[in-house]
């Protein structure tokens, strides 16, 4: 079938890369944005533009707020009928569900504090399952005031989930699609190296002045190769994060009995009760436990602040409080967790040193999730991700450039379709992203369902870009460059500047001010301006190339005419 191993790898690289490349483009681009998701949150919610805070007093501030949280209506309506056992009686009304779990989470980049309550289900269908209806809340930790629910955290709640789930949550199908795409990415990297292994030098050659097909392939090889370790590690660790849940859930399905047995052993070893006791009891001071945990970290020569705090089996006799350290000073996601009895405040368990395997795993996943505080490294991640995006985009363009002559002669529209989809996933995606930011600044802050309309702006503008790309793609059939590339670049450039100006008008935060006082917002504004400048440059360059292509296309059609006559 294939005459050689290399030929097989070339086939795999071309066709799998083409079909899943469009997904990978989204994953790489929004992954790059996710590095600064919290900063984009600050930009999109002006009320939250203040300095990051440490975890405030639990007893005085957080507990009263947590007590007032209600179960989320949508979560209740969707999940309660699935989790509740009707044979034991009617469903407990939403507002009467008992709180079972409290949690609060903050990072070194979060001025706002997110926290939530897991409400128990009194008559569950499966007593062993995860029986929680959730209620989440975001507060200003300086005052305890809640931020309105309608305000979407565009960075951490839209761009970041876009990166791993395409925001397609129906049966978590988005996560599966991204999982398959990531697997193919690994295969594409390996096969890409194999295809070119004989001409290794080519990996580092770039001839921008040669014809488009040649220089595009150079750029494809160069970006793929220069950042190869980055691409491979990120793809691999990304898969690893989800591996036990979605890729190979062996221990949650076939080997579940073994897993349950282990949990039982573990619960008896750790003294942390798996089930609540059902006997009501008063809660001890959590602040005192926090103080003890901090003291213990200092003794271990790693003083730090609390990053995550969780109370399990709230208000019953065997409740326990888990306190984890904010790990922003290291790569591995280690919490140095301390667990206290919720009623007496005594230390029940301190997490033992990790084993080698779990150290490797925590290092790898920590490398991907990058909670650490290291701005240079964070920016390298952004560039690594964007280099990956260039690698994928040039793959599409190479596909089109290599085949468009042949397709035109055969009357096939293959390269025309690929080109239109490439426009949609490259410039169209940029337009959609920045449209969302513009919508965020144009829609009034107190508008009901603001977050929903921001998402509408995102998807609708992307859909319009898709239509525009197809409408303009007929140029490819005539051996020219689709003008959609240039037009969408210009549209993006205009919108990006508009977003920066609108931010200034609606909040009064302009660059001269934020650059000295508030880098999260200045960084977003500056990135928008730089991207806009690059887009303008790209549009001008494309115009030149289009003109060259037009003269070539005329040559081509005269040739074609001559051959058909002769």
């Amino acid at each position: 079938m294939f005459s050689s191993f290399r030929q097989a790898m070339a086939w795999l690289h071309t066709w799998f890369g083409l079909t899943l490349g469009f997904i990978l483009m989204v994953v790489f681009f929004f992954g790059s944005l996710s590095v600064f998701d919290r900063e984009i949150d600050r930009w999109s919610i002006p009320e939250s533009r203040f300095e990051p805070q440490v975890m405030p007093s639990f007893d005085e501030m957080l507990l009263p707020i947590l007590r007032s949280v209600e179960p989320d209506e949508q979560d209740y309506n969707t999940n309660m009928p699935l989790l509740h056992d009707l044979s034991q009686g009617p469903m407990t009304p939403r507002t009467e569900l008992p709180a079972d779990e409290f949690w609060a989470y903050t990072t070194h980049r979060d001025p706002v504090l997110i926290m939530g309550v897991g409400f128990g289900i009194p008559q569950p269908l499966d007593p062993e399952g995860h029986n929680h209806i959730h209620g989440d809340i975001t507060i200003d930790p300086r005052t305890g005031k809640a931020l309105p629910d309608d305000q979407l955290k565009i960075g951490s709640r839209f761009f970041y989930p876009m990166h791993y789930s395409l925001n397609w949550n129906w049966n978590q199908i988005g996560i599966y699609i991204v999982g398959i795409a990531a697997f193919i990415m690994m295969a594409a990297l390996v096969s890409g190296v194999i295809i070119h292994r004989k001409r290794f030098r080519e990996f580092f050659t770039f001839r921008p002045t040669k014809q488009t097909q040649r220089s595009v392939l150079d750029l494809h090889n160069l970006t793929g190769m220069v950042a190869l370790p980055f691409h491979f590690f990120f793809t691999f660790t990304g898969l690893l994060i989800f591996a036990s849940f979605y890729f190979f859930p062996v221990t949650h399905t076939q080997l579940e009995p073994l897993h349950d047995y282990h949990e039982m052993v573990e619960a008896s070893e750790t003294g942390l009760p798996h089930d609540g006791a059902g006997i009501p009891a008063e809660m001890a001071s959590v602040d005192a436990m926090v103080a003890k945990a901090k003291q213990r970290w200092t003794e271990k020569d790693m003083p730090g602040e609390v990053g995550f705090l969780k109370i399990t089996h709230v208000d019953v006799a065997n409740s326990f409080v888990s306190i984890y350290r904010a790990g922003s000073d290291r790569v591995a996601l280690v919490g140095e967790g301390m667990h206290f009895s919720g009623t007496t405040g005594e230390l029940i368990r301190e997490e033992p040193p990790r084993t080698a395997v779990s150290e490797i795993n925590e290092f790898l996943t920590g490398l991907h999730l990058q909670h650490f505080e290291h701005w240079l490294l964070r920016w390298l991640y952004v560039f690594g991700g964007l280099v990956g995006a260039i690698c994928i985009a040039t793959g599409f363009i190479f596909f089109v450039e290599k085949r468009k002559r042949q397709h035109t002669l055969q009357g096939s529209s293959g390269s025309q379709i690929v080109d239109a989809l490439a426009v949609t996933t490259v410039t169209g995606m940029l337009v959609a992203t920045v449209s969302m930011l513009v919508a965020n600044r144009l829609l009034p802050a107190d508008m009901i369902g603001k977050g929903y309309w921001e998402q509408v702006a995102f998807w609708a503008s992307w859909a319009v870009m898709l239509l525009h790309a197809f409408w303009r793609s007929s140029a490819v059939r005539h051996m020219r460059i689709s003008p959609a590339w240039r037009e969408q670049s210009i549209l993006f450039a205009v919108l990006a500047v508009a977003a920066v100006v609108l931010n200034w008008i609606t909040t009064g935060d302009h660059l001269l001010k934020t650059a000295f006082h508030y880098w999260p917002v200045a960084g977003v504004d500056l990135s928008l301006l730089v991207s806009s400048a690059i887009a303008v440059y790209a549009a001008r360059y494309l115009k030149k190339r289009e003109n060259v292509a037009v003269s070539k296309a005329i040559e081509f059609s005269t040739q074609k005419l001559e051959t058909s006559r002769g």
Partner: protein, 101 residues
């Protein structure tokens, strides 16, 4: 009736065997190794995480091999046969271990 002599057919068979068969084989491998390591005293999450890391790389290698190999029938036999055999064996090992406690 599908046209089995069309050139698209072996390619579809190859892709299916490499993706699905490769997955099944990897699943079986992960299951049997975890099931075998626990009775030997390896910590559960160590066995799990270690095998997930190895499993992803194994799946990748199997997929690449499947896309390139000449012998389609052997590919099907090894991936599906091996996958089913290891998966079943894993259940047997797990059951005998849990009964023996």
């Amino acid at each position: 009736m599908p046209n089995f002599s069309s050139p698209a057919w072996p390619m579809a068979s190859r892709i299916f065997a490499s993706l699905v068969g490769g997955y099944l084989f990897t699943w079986g491998l992960i299951a049997i190794v975890i099931a075998a390591l626990i009775p030997l005293g390896v910590e559960f999450h160590d066995a799990e995480m270690g095998m997930l890391m190895l499993g992803l790389l194994t799946y990748l290698s199997l997929f690449l091999w499947g896309m390139a190999t000449d012998k389609l029938i052997r590919l099907w036999l090894i991936l599906f046969g091996g996958g089913v055999a290891m998966t079943m064996l894993a259940s047997v090992v797990q059951q005998s271990f849990l009964q023996g406690i």
